[in-house]
């Protein structure tokens, strides 16, 4: 009996990872979000922008190049990072509760945050394993930026979760809104620009300065996987914010529709900020995020104590 339950649970997890809302569903979503962001930025700049199928064509073109033959263990490690990035981003998307009552387990928020963090870590590691000066500089910048925005990101999510006394995403999605939640969502949106390498925090892929940053030595299908991981990161990060924003009420078809609408609005907002700003240097970005973290930490602490009744 327990064996069949375990089997069905694992097939259920596999379906969530690979089909819905996992890879099969998330990959076209990723392409759609990447296209939406590029088109929105282009329209804001009075340009036409890429056609609808553009991210798909980019992916197919990159996959059609030859897989580079790299020698030895260092070559194998270099080829490993894009695979890990795609796998962890797909896992992060798989954990999102797109439909109501889609299960989940206690503590899956922590797993989601860990999986969401992996693509940035893979980028940093990939730059260092590339044996290229430009890649190393890009990795250093990405690492510093990651540390600075993660303080705000994790603080916001943990304070939201702690105020609900639950680390289960499903519970967070179904609970009622509060001022602390909206504050947390605002803080997360500020961090998303850094996480998704958009202006003003697009430091790690600064072209013409450090060639292509950490990905300078990657080519062909490896680059296709990196772009795919980036797209899946878009889906997972915006999906997480949409989960926190969209209430689970009404008929069964309403929450997914609102989910999609919320994601589209978040993408437009991020594109708006990206089109309006220029790239900030590393010291300015770190200073910005540290001030953000300080302010938010103070507010979160005070409100957590207040809600907890200690104040």
């Amino acid at each position: 009996m327990t064996q069949t339950i375990a089997l069905s649970a694992s097939t259920d997890a596999l379906l969530r990872l690979l089909v819905f809302p996992g890879l099969l569903f998330a990959v076209p979503c990723a392409w759609f979000l990447v296209w939406l962001e590029r088109k929105a930025v282009a329209r804001m700049q009075q340009r036409i922008g890429p056609p609808f199928m553009q991210p798909f064509y980019d992916f197919v073109k990159l996959m059609s190049k030859a897989w580079p033959r790299r020698e030895g263990l260092s070559g194998a490690i270099m080829s490993f990072w894009p695979l890990l990035a795609v796998a962890s981003a797909a896992g992060a998307v798989g954990l999102l509760p797109v439909l109501p009552n889609s299960g989940g387990f206690a503590g899956d928020l922590i797993l989601l945050l860990a999986l969401l963090e992996m693509p940035s870590m893979c980028l940093v590691a990939a730059g260092f394993s590339s044996r290229s000066v430009f890649a190393e500089i890009g990795s250093v910048r990405e690492a510093i930026l990651s540390v600075s925005y993660n303080v705000v990101f994790l603080l916001a999510l943990v304070s939201i979760a702690a105020s609900q006394h639950s680390f289960r995403i499903e519970a967070l999605a179904q609970s009622s809104a509060s001022p602390l939640r909206w504050l947390g969502v605002a803080a997360i949106l500020v961090c998303l620009s850094g996480k998704l390498h958009l202006n003003p925090f697009s430091l790690s892929n600064a072209e013409q300065e450090i060639y292509a940053g950490p990905l300078t030595e990657y080519m062909g299908p490896e680059l296709a996987l990196w772009e795919l991981a980036h797209g899946l990161e878009w889906v997972a990060a915006t999906g997480l914010v949409a989960t926190l924003v969209v209430p689970h009420f009404g008929p069964a078809w309403l929450p997914p529709l609102l989910f999609v609408a919320a994601i589209a609005i978040i993408v437009l907002l991020l594109a708006f900020v990206a089109a309006a700003t220029a790239r900030l240097a590393i010291d300015t970005s770190v200073r910005f995020y540290s001030r953000c973290a300080l302010v938010f930490a103070a507010i979160a602490l005070v409100s957590a104590l207040w809600i907890g009744g200690k104040l």
Binding site: R47, P51, Q54, Y57, S64, A66, P68, A212, L215
Partner: protein
């Protein structure tokens, strides 16, 4: 199998990623190339993206008459572009060395070093001419195979 072949050809034609290299140019052609990405001409409507690394690009755009110092660099960068690839010579300088025809510091027009597929003449060429050249080069890349002979295409990773 024919379906996949046609899909790959379409994808290569509609997603030309460029890498720009200046081999001693006066920067007039470089400015016009950047202008072709500006809102008035918008090369991105064809899916063009200017990449930061030659390993990410399909099409190498070279401007400038090839100076002696730049000749080795051009050949190295050409080998780093993964196959299938194409080369565009932007401006009259890489095609024929233009006014610098008698200069002792030059090493000939571009096709003395790497095979050139599309020439975009002009001094400097207009941005719409550059975009037409990019569209031609994308069509050429679409019909090329991954390990084309004669362009140094192997699956080895060049250092």
């Amino acid at each position: 199998m024919n379906f996949f072949r046609r899909l790959v050809c379409t994808a290569r034609r509609r997603s030309p990623w460029l890498f720009h290299m200046n081999s001693g140019s006066c920067n007039g052609c470089d400015i016009e190339l950047i202008a072709s990405l500006s809102p008035r001409y918008d090369a991105e409507q064809l899916g063009v993206q200017l990449q930061g690394s030659p390993r990410h690009a399909d099409i190498l755009c070279v401007s400038g008459p090839v100076t002696r110092n730049a000749a080795g660099a051009i050949e190295t960068v050409y080998k780093q572009v993964p196959c299938p690839k194409a080369v565009i010579a932007i401006g009259s300088c890489p095609a024929t060395t233009n006014v610098f025809i008698d200069s002792p510091t030059l090493d000939g027009p571009l096709d003395r070093h790497i095979p050139v597929d599309v020439f975009v003449p002009g001094c400097p060429p207009r941005p719409d001419a550059i975009i037409r050249g990019i569209a031609q080069a994308a069509a050429i890349v679409a019909e090329r195979r991954r390990t084309a002979e004669g362009s140094g295409c192997t699956t080895e990773v060049e250092a």
